[in-house]
């Protein structure tokens, strides 16, 4: 076992840290307040190689390991989790192509993202099917050399700005997960409607919309994998992306701890800085300890993926533990700030709102526990 980072890992961590500190952080409060999409910042992330980090070298990517990606994402989320979520969306959308696409599809559908700034969205969730993905009702019907898509998706990150959508639909709802198939929809074909931008509690810099499909035609050559393989592709995608979602929690929590350390050294009650009260001290110690534990779980699941091993269990450990941890740490940071923590001029209430989402998307904390229990009973 080796916990030492390589020179190039330290270098990319450094670049991501600088980018987060100098480009993301100064704009985080503005985008949180206005909920404006931080397009310029995401373009700048692309210029610096911080977008499409999962793309393999053969398709114009950098050939980063999962661990490399985690190192960068922790920094980005430290800057602003909403922007980090928007930055991860391309990888989430393109992972199905990476894990399930043909060579021709990878060349044609992945490579352009490394040559030119483009955004993609992953469209799995539906109004009636979130945790219960297999219950989806968006349909795909074969018509000659096309499929025709009908249905509705919701909560789709970057959906209002995307140039490409990875969409899951069923060929036969009665077949449940065996009917699910994955498609790539390029551009904004006729029949695809983008709904309004959701007014969210947190991560307000990220764009979240509903999509409706009315007789949207998708060429057969944009079906990823075989008919009925969509479920496996979606699950494999989430196995790959969960450690990344998990590490966003670590970034948020680290920011919360840093702010708490700073504030608790300055704020005085009863004649001394509050961090000299043991109640505060222990809160800070618990924050630091749990952040480190979460980080190690995330790194372990990324390491397993880098070894080509299955990581469902570890990535569920990581996602669930890290998300719950960030919620607790950010809540405690608000507590350390006392009344000021509750006020928007101070930075910690945003972290609490941002952290909440990670317990919900990409598999709720309950769903992660379901996965863990299922693995335990095997």
């Amino acid at each position: 076992m080796d916990f030492q980072l390589t020179e190039s890992q330290r270098a990319l961590q450094d670049t991501a840290r600088k980018f987060a500190r100098e480009v993301i952080r100064p704009k985080a409060a503005h985008h949180d307040e206005t909920s404006e999409f931080p397009r310029e910042i995401i373009v700048s992330a692309w210029e610096n190689g911080l977008l499409n980090m999962a793309t393999p070298e053969a398709y114009g990517g950098l050939g980063l390991t999962h661990l490399d990606q985690l190192l960068a994402y922790e920094e980005l989320a430290w800057g602003c989790a909403g922007m980090a979520t928007s930055i991860t969306a391309n990888d989430l959308a393109n992972l199905p192509i990476i894990v399930g696409g043909s060579e021709e599809q990878k060349q044609r559908l992945l490579k352009p993202f490394t040559e030119k700034f483009k955004l993609a969205s992953f469209a799995l969730t539906e109004p009636e099917a979130g945790s219960d993905v297999a219950g989806m009702s968006t349909t795909a019907v074969r018509d000659g050399d096309h499929y025709v898509l009908n249905g509705a998706k919701c909560f789709i990150t970057n959906g209002g700005h995307a140039d490409q959508y990875t969409v899951f639909a069923t060929l036969d709802k009665a077949k449940k997960h065996k009917g699910i198939t994955c498609f790539v929809v390029e551009g904004r074909p006729k029949g695809l409607t983008v709904g309004k931008h959701e007014n969210k509690m947190g991560q307000r810099a990220s764009d979240t919309v509903a999509l409706t499909f009315e007789d949207v035609r998708v060429p057969v050559h944009n079906r990823i994998g075989e008919e009925g393989e969509g479920w496996r592709i979606a699950m494999e995608t989430l196995d790959n992306s969960r450690p990344i979602t998990a590490i966003l929690s670590v970034g948020i929590a680290r920011a919360a701890l840093e702010y708490s350390l700073e504030y608790s050294a300055q704020r005085k009650t009863f004649g001394k800085p509050i961090r000299e009260h043991q109640a505060i001290q222990f809160m800070l110690a618990d924050m630091a300890m749990n952040i480190q534990a979460a980080r190690l779980l995330c790194h372990q699941s990324a390491w397993l993926l880098d070894q080509g091993q299955r990581a469902s269990l570890q990535s569920s450990y990581a996602k669930c533990f890290a998300a719950d941890m960030a919620m607790k740490v950010a809540t405690d940071a608000v507590q350390v700030y006392g009344g000021y923590g509750y006020i928007k001029e101070y930075p910690v209430e945003k972290l609490m709102r941002d952290a909440k989402l990670i317990q919900i998307y990409e598999g709720t904390s309950q769903v992660q526990r379901l996965v863990i229990a299922r693995e335990l009973f095997k």
Binding site: R10, A11, K18, G49, M53, A72
Partner: protein, 265 residues
Amino acid sequence: MKILVTAKRVEDPESKIKVKPDGSGIVQEGLKYKINPFDEIGVEEGLRLVAKHGGEVVVVSIGGKEVQEQLRHALAMGATRAVWVNHTGPLDQMGVAGLLQKVAEKEKPDLVILGKQAIDDDQNQVGQYLAEFLGWGQATFASKVESLESEQEKNKVPALQMGADNKSVRVVREVDNGLATLECALPAVVTTDLRLNLPRYASLPGIMKAKSKPIEELTPAKLSVDVTPKVQVLKMASPPPRKAGIKVPDVATLVDKLRNEAKVV
């Protein structure tokens, strides 16, 4: 054109610097390091110049093998190759300038760009010595008229202006009472000031490419430079802690104190 730029390894100003109790140096443990920010500005200027005029940026650093990290950083920013002078013993500013002189004579650059000073010991000497040793013209404290928020800066326009046939360089210098413009025949030595440019990030693709860029290893012996220091550091000490400030009730008291106690007005 060929541009040689220095990349010194310095303590990261964000880490806490403590002097050893015996005053023999600073506590190294737990310190982080980075490229001297003035050198980073030099690398950026070099890259802008070769983007405009063609050529290559070669970076050079002196130190143990850990300085390769700073060389890789400059390579990741876009420099073509690196020269590492492997030396771990004591070294003073003349020693550094002597080594750089030999590297410059070997590389024959059109321009050597250095930071005006390194943020570790803030000496501000090497560029001047080097120009003297090489017998080249020098323009220190290179800056520019345009602000760092200007369009020129956003478009990464080089601040140093090359003359006809790239035979001279025009440099805007930061001086005590404003800006002064100087024209120097090439080859020349330029040192950078803070407001010359905003250095780019080492992009992730840049970091990956830098892994396979060449770093040539040299030593003082190979360069035939005697680096025996002429300057000896006797003792280091922290500056005395700042005394707490005082509050004055009104402007009249302030002026009175400035005039009669501080004697500054």
